[in-house]
């Protein structure tokens, strides 16, 4: 029993738990996932803006560096050239070198394109060198565009230098040409920090590394090693200027944005390790995940608690029903949930009460059926009153009957035959008793005692008893026809007497019997003993009761044991053997 019951209970628990859990967790997850998704996109957009701003800022700082040099150079081309160079211009040039450490050397060119002055940190200074520089790209470029930036050149294949040429407002002011050591951009570039560890670098137009916080990368001047950086620039250009993901020179994944410096045509690229750039996103995702897990745990706890609350009354109900089913009708299911469960429990309790009544009734019926005709028993049961079984004194008709020579037959015949004969005999008698609503008191071997008018009163008990006796005689006689083949001496006799008797249940607590006690019982027994096969002997009281409604034959009074005087006896005249 517990096996098949336990399984469905577990399933119900799981079902409820899953449903409740899903009801809470599913919206939570949908909300969490959408928040993560949108958060990611917002953060990505913010990152784009941030990196773009950093790139613009870095580009502005490097442009400032170049513009600063250009502006300082402007001092040297503010006065028109005369034939004599003059000490003044030389001092200006030297002061410029002192002022701008990045300028390695400086050439001043007059309007005719001749070099008039050259000052250097490393080489010897030249005054009035007179070289014709008018055809050099620097002079041509400066004259055409006022400012000219040369390509980046790597001195000795290592150190990046750039020529800047600047012409004065008027052609008479000449041109100044400066060799600029680009290693000085390191001061600017190494100062730029993007986020915590992000950095910036500069590529020139052809994609050579001009500036990087690791100066040795620049000095290596190894174009193939700078391929990743060029690829990064290409990736950003492919994204039309948006920040792009790629790999830096060390192969780490970075997010990079770019801004260009007009004039020199350089690209300033800022990069931040992807891990760092996305750190806030990852942090937010982790936070969301943690909240989801916490939410799921809470939902699980809640679902468990709710499921337990729902399942508990069901379990109590089930337990109660099991007990009631097992016959504990006094068990009551106690539930105070003030809901359908409590109503259901009340119903079950009512049902148990009814079952108890019903069982009591069927027990009583079983008891009554043993000695009452089933319909009589039902009747008593319907009235719900078994006080009819109480002891009292009442006028009854007692019928005794038995088989003649049965004891001898039972000694001779096989046991199975004896039992078979008895079963047929008892069945026939019981049918007759039932048909007449009489009370079968007892079988004792082949002897049978029947009571009429007790415990249930009936109309005209004497007549009923005589009819019953006749029926019994008829039934048994028809059986006897078959049995005589077994033993020709078998016969059947009936005695019947009417009179007051004490009726009620006697016996010990466990073995109660309904019976009648009184003289009339003795009389009926004696009459039975005296009756011949096929004879129904009736006492005077019964005979008087039926008067002429049943044909009776008065026989000679019989002297019966226990009776002082001979007793008047009547025989039913219904059967062929009557009077024989």
């Amino acid at each position: 029993m517990p096996g098949p019951v336990a399984a469905p209970r577990a399933t119900l628990f799981k079902k409820y738990f899953r449903t409740l859990f899903a009801a809470v967790v599913a919206p939570l997850f949908i909300a969490g996932a959408s928040e993560a998704w949108f958060g990611y996109h917002d953060q990505r957009a913010r990152l784009n803006d941030l990196l773009a701003a950093e790139a613009r800022l870095a580009a502005a700082r490097i442009a400032d560096f170049i513009d600063g040099i250009r502006d300082q150079m402007g001092w040297t081309v503010q006065l028109p050239w005369s034939e004599t160079p003059g000490n003044r211009r030389r001092l200006d040039a030297l002061r410029l070198l002192r002022q701008v450490p990045a300028i390695e050397s400086l050439s001043l060119v007059d309007p005719a394109g001749r070099e008039r002055l050259f000052v250097s940190r490393i080489g010897l200074n030249r005054v009035e060198g007179g070289d014709d520089l008018s055809a050099t790209p620097a002079v041509v470029g400066a004259r055409a565009h006022r400012v000219w930036f040369g390509p980046v050149a790597f001195q000795n294949g290592s150190e990046p230098f750039m020529t800047i040429a600047l012409s004065g407002n008027r052609a008479a002011d000449g041109v100044v040409i400066a060799e600029v050591n680009l290693k000085f951009i390191w001061d600017v570039i190494s100062d730029i920090r993007v986020g915590r560890t992000g950095e910036a670098f500069v590529l020139d137009q052809p994609g050579r590394l001009v500036a990087h916080p690791d100066i040795s990368l620049v000095l290596r001047a190894d174009e193939s090693a700078h391929k990743p950086l060029q690829a990064l620039r290409a990736a950003i250009l492919a994204q039309s200027g948006q920040a792009a993901a790629g790999r830096d020179i060390a192969g780490d994944r970075v997010l990079a944005a770019m801004a260009s410096i007009p004039g020199v045509g350089w690209s300033v690229i800022v990069e931040q390790p992807v891990a760092e750039a996305f750190e806030p996103i990852y942090a937010a995702l982790w936070r969301t995940a943690a909240l989801l897990v916490a939410g799921a745990a809470l939902a699980a706890a809640l679902a468990y608690w709710l499921t337990r609350r729902m399942i508990e009354p069901i379990r109590v109900l089930e337990d109660g029903v099991t007990r009631i089913g097992a016959g504990q009708f006094d068990h009551r299911i106690s539930l105070t949930t003030s809901d359908e469960f409590e109503r259901l429990a009340t119903r079950f309790n009512e049902m148990a009460g009814e079952l108890a009544l019903s069982q009591e009734r069927s027990e009583r019926i079983g008891r009554l059926k043993r000695f009452l005709a089933p319909q009589v028993a039902e009747l008593i049961d319907r009235t719900g009153d078994d006080r009819v079984l109480d002891g009292r004194r009442v006028d009854v008709v007692v019928i005794f009957c038995d088989l003649r020579d049965f004891t001898a037959f039972s000694a001779r015949a096989e046991a199975e035959t004896v039992i078979g004969v008895l079963r047929e005999y008892h069945d026939a008698l019981e049918r007759a008793v039932s048909a007449h609503e009489a009370t079968l008191i007892n079988f004792f071997g082949d002897g049978v005692m029947v009571l009429v008018n007790a415990p249930v009163s009936c109309s005209d008990p004497a007549l009923r008893a005589i009819d019953l006796a006749n029926d019994m005689q008829r039934s048994v006689q028809s059986l006897l026809i078959g049995w005589r083949a077994l033993d020709s001496r078998l016969g059947f006799g009936v005695g019947l007497a009417m009179g007051p008797a004490t009726v009620g249940q006697i016996g010990s607590e466990g073995r109660l019997h309904y019976t009648a006690i009184g003289n009339v019982v003795n009389l009926a027994s004696r009459l039975c003993a005296s009756a011949q096969d096929g004879e129904v002997l009736i006492d005077r009281v019964a005979a008087r009761e039926v008067a002429s409604r049943v044909p009776l034959v008065e026989l000679d009074p019989l002297a019966l044991k226990g009776f002082d005087a001979p007793v008047p006896v009547f025989a039913a005249a219904g059967d062929g053997k009557a009077g024989g």
Partner: protein, 338 residues
Amino acid sequence: MRFVSRGSAGAAAGLRRRDLVALAGGAAAWTVTADAQALPVIGYLGSESPQQYESRLVAFREGLAQVGYAEGRNVAIEFRWAEGRYRELPALARELASRQVTAMVAAGGAEVALAAKAATATIPTVFEMGGDPIALGVVDSLSRPGGNLTGVSSLSVEVSRKRLEFMREVRPGSKVFAVAINPASPTSSSQLSNLRVAAESLGVKLAVLKASSEPEFDSMFAAAHDLGTGGLVFSSDPYFAYRSQQLAALAVRHGVPAMTQSRDFPLAGGLMSYGGDFSQTHRNAGIYAGRILKGEKPANLPVQRVTKVELFINVKAADELGLAFPSSLLGSADRVIE
């Protein structure tokens, strides 16, 4: 550059810190053996004594610190000093190489670098020197040194001719200038030829004076004075540079206007100096040594050239010599000592 201003301030930052550093260096010397298994060891080869290298060591340790190394904490330094006897450098270098140090630092001139190069072809080595590392055969290429050496060049050798030019501006009337050459130096001949070319374009004559040991200094100054030269221009040489105090004293004693590569010279009372900023070069050497300890290959670290060549002038010394600096020098000097 940023660190230059810090470095020059450091020169006057007081002796107390240097003393502490020297003490720390001394303490490290005997803990080296105990911690040798745990800490990487830098073998430091110097041509002079720790006292003369003090300011250079400060810069070197700053460079190491910049890449996260501190002596005694995560790196040990084993020093070998030639104490001015440059002939002993190769033996000292071999000694360091035989101790299988993690990296070697050969600071303070071409002699040291060449000694280190001869001692080992495997131990990563960082040099610090004034000459052209390619011309001296230390490395094959600046951008890709290729072997086990890389380092920093101070440009001091290249700018010897500028010293002659400055001296001529101070003494425009003189036609003859003395130049001091250390014949033992591997760069002496190239410097001398450079100086001769410069003298020609400047229209002056040179009196070449040679000295390769301290006792020869006095007679050199005497000769410069007696020959009636406009001044004594020192070629770039570590032996001279590390003896700036002595040279300054001699210049004052002999009343000779003189110019060396090291700022220590005008700071000690000499007239002026023009040369690469040694704080920067030694700091960069420290940075490279640190990066090599971190696993980078010297072959991938390009040789760096100093970005700052500094002019120091001492107005007081000029006054005592009865000279006046022209405004071109006053205007372009990085530091004027008064």
